[in-house]
């Protein structure tokens, strides 16, 4: 089974600060890490490979330094790594990103399964997985919390729901996004680290993947982040006490006072 895992390098959430004047992310001195959900996606792929055979290829669209997360992925069990990197990709929203990833994945070749993290912790959109499936015209299921079996291109998995989980059979090729419940990601192995150090990472530019310049980067983006800001701290809380009827009365009084 050939599995592709999409990974993103993100700023470590522990360190992210918002510059209060410019309202932009202050990335200075902030460590970059592999998006935590993507670590679970990678672990799921490596476990599938261990159980059913095949290869795991990790793909990341990002600046040259995103190579670090790809090497980390190799140290945790990925076989191949592809960096999709070009200045022309800068400013991409999720629409342009899914186009770029789709072109890169078509260039990589055939696959049975694509696994993504549910969302990235920086943008938090949760759109790239489903968007990529749409671009590739394959089925997708989000929020997978367990993969129980895989036989004859039929994958059995559990989708996390608010009130429990669905048990699904998914015809491959397909795309899954995973939640953290799915597994406990392994730490890099010694052999993995040695392999990661030596492996040559395939780099793909806009030209390499045959991307239409109008559909990538800022040009291909249909949305733009106009402003980022810290929400105002909430006002003081008042706890109402007494019986329900008394509390309702107090509440109405307060609401009327606001008017």
């Amino acid at each position: 089974m050939n599995i592709i895992v999409c990974v993103k390098q993100v700023p470590d959430a522990k360190d992210v600060r918002l510059d209060p004047k410019t309202n932009t992310l202050s990335r200075e001195g902030v460590e970059s890490i592999m998006n935590p959900y993507d670590r679970h996606a990678l672990e799921a792929a490596v476990q599938l490979k261990e159980n059913y055979g095949g290869t795991v290829t990790v793909v990341s669209m990002g600046p040259p330094q995103a190579e670090e997360v790809l090497r980390e992925a190799v140290s945790c069990g990925a076989d191949e790594a592809v960096l999709v990197s070009d200045r022309a990709f800068a400013g991409a929203d999720t629409w342009a990103t899914t186009y770029t990833l789709m072109k890169a994945i078509k260039k990589i070749g055939t696959f049975d399964l694509i696994i993504c993290g549910k969302q990235a912790i920086d943008g938090d959109t949760a759109q790239v997985g489903p968007g990529l499936a749409h671009r590739l015209n394959i089925p997708f299921v989000t929020c997978i919390r367990n993969i129980t079996n895989c036989e004859d291109s039929l994958l059995k998995a559990e989708r996390l729901m608010d009130d429990g989980y669905d048990v699904l059979e998914i015809q491959l090729p397909a795309l899954l996004t995973v939640v953290k419940d799915i597994n406990e990601p392994r730490v890099p192995s010694l052999k993995g680290k040695m392999k990661a150090k030596k492996i040559s990472i395939t780099s793909m530019s806009a030209e390499d993947i045959g991307a239409n310049p109008e559909q990538i980067g800022l040009n291909g983006s249909t949305t733009q982040v106009v402003r980022v800001f810290s929400p105002e701290p909430r006002g003081e809380k008042t706890m109402l006490t007494g019986s329900v009827a008394e509390q309702v009365e107090q509440l109405i009084e307060k609401l009327e006072a606001i008017q």
């Binding site: 730490v187 890099p188 192995s189 010694l190 680290k193 040695m194 150090k197």
Partner: protein
């Protein structure tokens, strides 16, 4: 301090560090409280290829030596001495096979030990044979194509968790020290069972039980090396393994120092963080000096041992005494720095102090280690 590790040695440190920070430290208090064996963490360590660090490449290992094991154990010791002991005890159990076993024996066991799918244990101690190994009463008698074992081994680390046991038994009582031999016993061998789990002061997440042999029959080829060579294998094994115990003292001392400095910077008394008081500063300074001096000695001893397999004893014993006495002192001081909080189980330093004590006792008490150093000096100065 920079010890100029090679790139590969640095990788070993990083892998062990990540397991320690992400897997061991978050679970250590609960494992200690429940006296629970760290099965899952050991699986993580196996997946990270660290069980094979000291095993030659031809048997599926990494092909490193004493120093590489020390680097990994330093990190594990920083996290939890109980988990580290379970890991180290597997190496201790495999060393006799590695040092004295036949090629067939190595091929049979070492690849599984290297992958971590098989854990090993080492069994020398008995009720009447601790520091004085000549008190061993477990016997092995050849009966046709089988050895028949009888006796009881005491306080065996990894007992009940390991799949293979390197044990010492007397094969010829009339020959004294030359009458002891080593054998591999498998957990499924008939006539082999375990005593109940011991309740210990520290390293409570490690498994310590008796091994009981009642007419336990094992195939003839389970003899490790030659008959009568048991004590020689034991001595070589312990010389090779002791820097691993020494470095647990260093890792533990480092952890105690880290906790102490962090706390001393936060704790405010008399309007100032307590680290600003000289009484505390000097304690922390002494802790740091002792940890670093121990680290330097253990690293040097481990490198010496890797290079001079015939002259290991003195270096091995010296570093074990120095680093484990240090760990006892530094962890005791850490409890003192954290004072009332340090004495509470909510903070990690009381466990560190409990765990430190065993380091001065197991794999040869520190008194026996001083004997070894003294005897070596006596030989050197003739």
């Amino acid at each position: 301090m920079d010890y100029f590790l090679t790139e590969e040695q640095q990788m070993i440190v990083e892998v062990a560090q990540q397991i320690t920070d992400e897997k061991i430290i978050p679970q250590r208090a609960e494992l200690d409280e429940k006296e629970e064996f760290a099965t899952e963490i050991l699986k993580d360590i196996a997946k990270a290829d660290l069980f094979g660090l000291y095993i030659p490449e031809e048997y599926g290992g990494y092909g490193g030596g004493c120093f590489e094991v020390v680097l990994a154990l330093e990190q594990f010791g920083r996290g939890c001495v109980a988990v580290a002991t379970s890991f180290a005890a597997s190496a201790l159990g495999a060393y006799p096979i590695l040092l004295s076993g036949s090629k067939e024996m190595k091929q049979k066991y070492l690849p599984d030990v290297a992958s971590g799918s098989m854990k090993a244990a080492f069994a020398l101690t008995e009720a009447n044979a601790g520091s004085d190994a000549s008190g061993i009463q477990t016997t092995a008698v050849l009966d046709g194509d089988e050895w028949v074992l009888n006796g009881t081994k005491q306080w065996i680390t990894n007992a009940g968790e390991a799949q293979i046991y390197s044990i010492v038994a007397i094969t010829d009582k009339s020959k004294g020290a030359r009458g002891a031999s080593m054998f591999v016993v498998e957990d499924t061998d008939p006539g082999f069972s375990y005593g109940p789990k011991e309740k210990k002061m520290g390293i409570r997440a490690s498994a310590t039980r008796e091994l009981i042999f009642k007419d336990c029959r094992i195939p003839k080829d389970r003899l490790i090396g030659r008959q009568g060579m048991g004590f020689i294998t034991v001595m070589k094994t312990l010389d090779l393994s002791r820097p691993g115990i020494a470095i647990l003292g260093v890792g533990l001392g480092q952890a105690a120092l880290d906790e102490s400095v962090t706390y001393a910077k936060q704790r405010v008394q008399f309007g100032k963080p307590i680290i600003s008081f000289q009484a505390i500063q000097h304690m922390l300074a002494d802790m740091a000096i002792q940890v670093e001096a121990s680290r330097a000695l253990v690293y040097a001893a481990a490198k010496h041992i890797a290079a001079h397999q015939k002259d290991m004893s003195k270096a091995s014993s010296m570093c074990k005494v120095f680093a484990t006495d240090m760990a006892m002192k530094v962890t005791t001081d850490a409890v003192q720095v954290l004072a009332g909080y340090g004495y509470m189980r909510e903070y990690p330093v009381e466990k560190m102090m409990r765990d430190a004590k065993i380091l001065q006792i197991y794999e040869g008490t520190n008194q026996i280690q001083r004997n070894v150093v003294g005897q070596e000096l006596n030989k050197e100065y003739t």
